[in-house]
Structure formats: C-alpha cells, structure tokens
C-alpha cells in the first residue's frame, strides 16, 4: 500500500502535466477539427496564464474564480485573433499563428508590470491533481456533447469540404469562428492550469516548445475525435518520464522517434473512430463480394479509402 502511495506521489506530477497538456491539446484540437492549423492556443494560454497568476497573486482571488476569468480572457483573445486570422488562407494562417507566438513572447518580456517581464511570475496557488482532473472532465464533457450536436456534424462537414458544407447551409466561417472561440476559452483554461501546476510562469512557459508539444500530442493521439488529444497528451507527457527512468540520455530522442513512427505508420493517430468503422465496412464488403453482387463503380480521381478525410 505504501509502495503504491509512493508511486502515486512520484508520478502525480507527470499526471498533473498530462492533464494540463490535455487541455492544451484539446484547445488545439478545437481549431484543427474545423480544418484549421493554428498554434494560437499558446497565445490564449499566455493570456489566461498571466491573468490567472495576477488574479491570484495580486488580487488574491480563489483558484476557481481565477481559472474562470482566465478562460473568459482566452476566449476574448481568440475572438480578436480569429477576426484577424480567419480571412487568411490555411497555410498563411498556420504561419501567422507561429509569428504571433514569437511576438507575444516579446510582448511578455517587455510588459514586466503585467507578466513579470524577464523575471517571470511566481504563482502562489497550486492546483491539485484532483482539481485539474475536474477541470479536464468539465471540458471533456463539453467536447463530448459538442461531438454529438449539430455543431459536431457541421464541423466535420467543414473539415471535409468547406465548399460542400456551405451548399448544405453550413457557414464554414461561422463554424470556424466558434471553433476559435472554444479554442480560446480552453486555451485560457490551459494557461491557468499550467500556471497553477508549475507555480511559476515566464515568457518561456508559453513559447514554441509548448506549441510543438501540443500539436504533436494532438496528432499522436488522433485529431478526429476529442478523446484522441487527451490520450496523445498523456503519452507525450509520460514518455520522457518513462525513458528517463530507463535511459536518461535518450529521453528526447525517444520522443522524436515515437512521433515519427506514429506519423508514418499511424498517420491518423492512436484514437481513430473511423478505423473501427472501416474494418467493419471492409468485412461487409468481403461478405458481399462473396455473394457475387456487383461492385459499385468508382470514378477515377475519387479518393481511395486511405485518402479520404472524415
């Protein structure tokens, strides 16, 4: 029992970071599932993180209130950024979001009254693993409900083919705006969660490293279902801890190799709702082929199964 408790304590930090990274990944997933590659989550998180730190540090607000405010401010930031970014073509949006991260770092460094500048900020409150888990559970519940809602259907349509979706009466722009807002709120929450887990934040906390981690987590876990990013975030967080225990020199390399292998052999990630559907469909086709029924003609140029998007 004591050994179990020790184990829990030893890895509770990893668990906490897994929960925090899950929030980051879900924020990233929110826009990615609308067909947008954007790293602005990092900026939303910076807004939420520093805001939460100020709320608790300077104004002495309780944890949950600070977290809620962080989420709202993240959402506000996303509304502004989305208005600017949504008119950009996809490639440029991805690049612009990276540029925005670079800029926000400079801003953080040069506004010491808000962010502590180069010194960073110590956050006086620590969120427990349980509190983080509750936060993630609430956010997950929202994603779970969204997946089954009209919005979930619409967002899948937009991701597959924005033009086709618009003929169905779904405004791609509107859906992507909503996706950005969700991403902003979750990103703000993620920033607050990061601040209260690290208990110290600085310009480097919300920089390219976290951008790479969250996109890697999202794609690793699977970007076609909300549960994927959570799985990916936990795998990606736990991996260095595990490899450090086994072979400390290669912990980073192992991370890179896993990412590479997943991308090449499992490009849709670990959690892929369609993989199950496909296997089922394949069995049915085999069945019908045995029955000698006519195959449906396919036009050349239509995507093969491996290409199609959800």
């Amino acid at each position: 029992m004591e050994a179990l408790l020790d184990f829990w304590y030893a890895y509770s930090a990893t668990l906490a970071f897994g929960l925090v990274n899950s929030l980051f990944a879900l924020s990233m997933y929110s826009v990615l599932s609308a067909g947008i590659l954007s790293f602005t989550t990092v900026v939303f998180a910076a807004v939420g993180g520093f805001a939460a730190a100020q709320m608790m540090g300077t104004f002495g607000l309780p944890l949950w209130l600070a977290v809620v405010i962080a989420g709202l401010l993240g959402g506000l930031a996303s509304a502004i950024i989305a208005a600017l970014f949504l008119k950009l073509e996809t490639h440029w949006m991805a690049l612009a979001s990276l540029a925005l991260i670079l800029i926000s770092r400079v801003v953080v460094l040069n506004t010491p009254s808000l962010t502590g500048g180069v010194m960073g900020m110590v956050v006086p409150v620590r969120a427990s693993v349980l509190e983080l888990a509750v936060l993630l559970a609430i956010v997950s519940l929202v994603f779970f409900r969204l997946h089954k809602s009209w919005y979930g259907l619409a967002i899948r349509a937009v991701r597959e083919d924005a033009a086709a979706a618009s003929t169905m009466g779904v405004s791609a722009r509107q859906i992507q705006m909503i996706a950005f807002l969700i991403s902003g709120v979750v990103g703000g929450l993620a920033g607050a969660a990061m601040a209260t887990t690290l208990q110290y934040i600085s310009a480097d906390t919300f920089y390219l490293g976290v951008a790479f981690t969250m996109i890697a987590s999202t794609v690793l876990g699977g970007s076609f279902f909300w549960f994927g990013p959570i799985v990916g975030a936990f795998v990606f967080t736990a991996l260095p801890t595990i490899t450090q225990a086994v072979l400390p020199e290669i912990q980073d390399i192992a991370k890179g190799v896993v990412l590479l292998v997943i991308m090449i052999y499992l490009p849709r990630g670990l959690i892929d709702p369609r993989a199950r559907g496909l296997r089922k469909a394949a069995r049915q086709r085999q069945q019908s082929a045995l029955n000698g029924s006519d195959a449906v003609e396919a036009r050349p140029g239509s995507s093969t199964a491996g290409h199609a998007h959800d």
Binding site: A282, D294, A295, E297, A298, R299, P300, G301, T304, A305
Partner: protein
C-alpha cells in the same frame, strides 16, 4: 505493338477493371468507348502508370510496362494525355514542352517544331504561363507535351471533355493528322459519334469488361451500341 492482357484494377475495395485484354496495332487509331463510370478511364490510367493495376500485363513492344512508375512508362515510349489535361500551370508553354528533356527520349528541336506546326496557337503563346491558357489550348499543350516524348503509343483520355464543339473538331483533326503521320494512338472517349468517325478499331467497355469490339462500321451497326451510345 501495345498488348494488354487480363488487366485488373481497383479503387480501394471496388474493382473498376475486371480482366481486360486487347491489342493496339502499330500505326492504328483505336478507341475505347463506354459510359460514365464504365472503367475506361481506369483502364487507360492503369496502362499509362497513373494508377497501379492489381493484375494483368501491359506489353509494349515485347516488354511488360505494367507496374512501372509513371515516368518510367513515359521513358518506355508510352505517353498519356490525361483527363483534365494536367498541364503545369506555373510553367510557360515552352517550359512545359521542354520538360520532356528529362524523359530520356529525344524531344529535339524538330519535335518542338512539329508540335508548333500542329498547334500554331501554342507557338504564339509559348512564353505564357500555361495556367492562363484556355481549356482548348491546354488540351493542345497536353497533346504537345505527350508528343515531345516521341511516344511509340499515344494515349488520350477523353480529349473532348469540357471543350466547345469547334475546339473538339480541332483536337480530333490533329489526332487524325498525327495518326496519318504514322503515330499509334489509343483514345478513350465518351463521345462515340466523333470517336467512331475517326478510328480504325473500337472497344466498348461496360462494368469494367469489354463487351463488344470491332471496326467502327461494325460497331455502328451493333444494335446495343447504337442504342446505348449513338442513340
């Protein structure tokens, strides 16, 4: 010259071509007819290396070119004018044509002159980015590009598609002219009337299989063909 036997191809789990066999004689102009989705384009793409067949052989002058990569098929002497033309939009007309230097087949100044003779419009627009050409001009460029590789067999996929009738005539006149110069040609076409008016031999494909074949005369008189494609 070109001999296809038992060619099978599929898209995903769907079998689009089911064991097709036929030959294209040297110097001939053959057509494959068929309705939308009959598998004729898949057949052509499988022969040309744009789509990988799952079975059968494609013999070009005695060597099997099935399963070669697209550029190697071109190097073996088989050039495709694909559906949708696929000209390289950012390149100028001339650059598109001269890309054939990488085919290992001559594509000399003579061939270029021949292409410009055949399609004077291309000569006029040689320095223009080909993305700015009209659909008909792009079709000419696509044919010119294929000719630049000095193919033993020229394959055309739906050359009439999406073109104004007057342009279709220009394109088919060029096809006939090329054939008269001794070029072996295989055309896949939905427009049976115009196809049968120019070819020496025809095949009709339905559900991935050849159902009728014969001279244009015989095909025109075939009641099934008459009803399905010429009616």
């Amino acid at each position: 010259m070109l001999s296809v036997s038992d060619l099978t191809a599929s898209y995903g789990a769907i079998r689009a071509v089911r064991g097709i066999s036929f030959t294209v004689a040297s110097g001939s102009l053959s057509v494959i007819l068929g309705s939308n989705g009959a598998g004729k384009s898949t057949t052509l793409r499988s022969i040309a290396g744009l789509h990988r067949p799952i079975g059968g052989s494609v013999m070009l002058d005695g060597s099997n070119i099935a399963r070669l990569a697209l550029h190697n098929v071109v190097r073996a002497g088989l050039a495709l004018v694909p559906e949708g033309r696929m000209v390289v939009a950012p390149l100028t007309v001339e650059e598109n044509l001269l890309l054939s230097r990488f085919s290992g087949r001559k594509g000399t100044g003579d061939t270029l002159a021949r292409v410009f003779d055949l399609f004077p419009r291309l000569k006029e627009r040689r320095t223009q980015p080909s993305g700015l050409l009209s659909g008909g001009e792009q079709q000419m460029l696509a044919i010119g590009r294929a000719l630049m590789t000095e193919p033993r067999v020229l394959l055309l996929d739906e050359p009439s598609m999406g073109l104004a009738p007057s342009i279709v005539d220009v394109v088919f006149e060029a096809i006939v002219a090329l054939n008269r110069q001794g070029q072996t040609i295989l055309v896949v076409e939905q427009n049976a009337a115009i196809a049968l008016s120019v070819c020496d031999y025809g095949y009709v494909i339905k559900r991935g299989e050849i159902v009728v074949e014969g001279t244009p005369q015989a095909l025109r008189e075939n009641p099934e063909v008459l009803e399905a494609y010429l009616g």
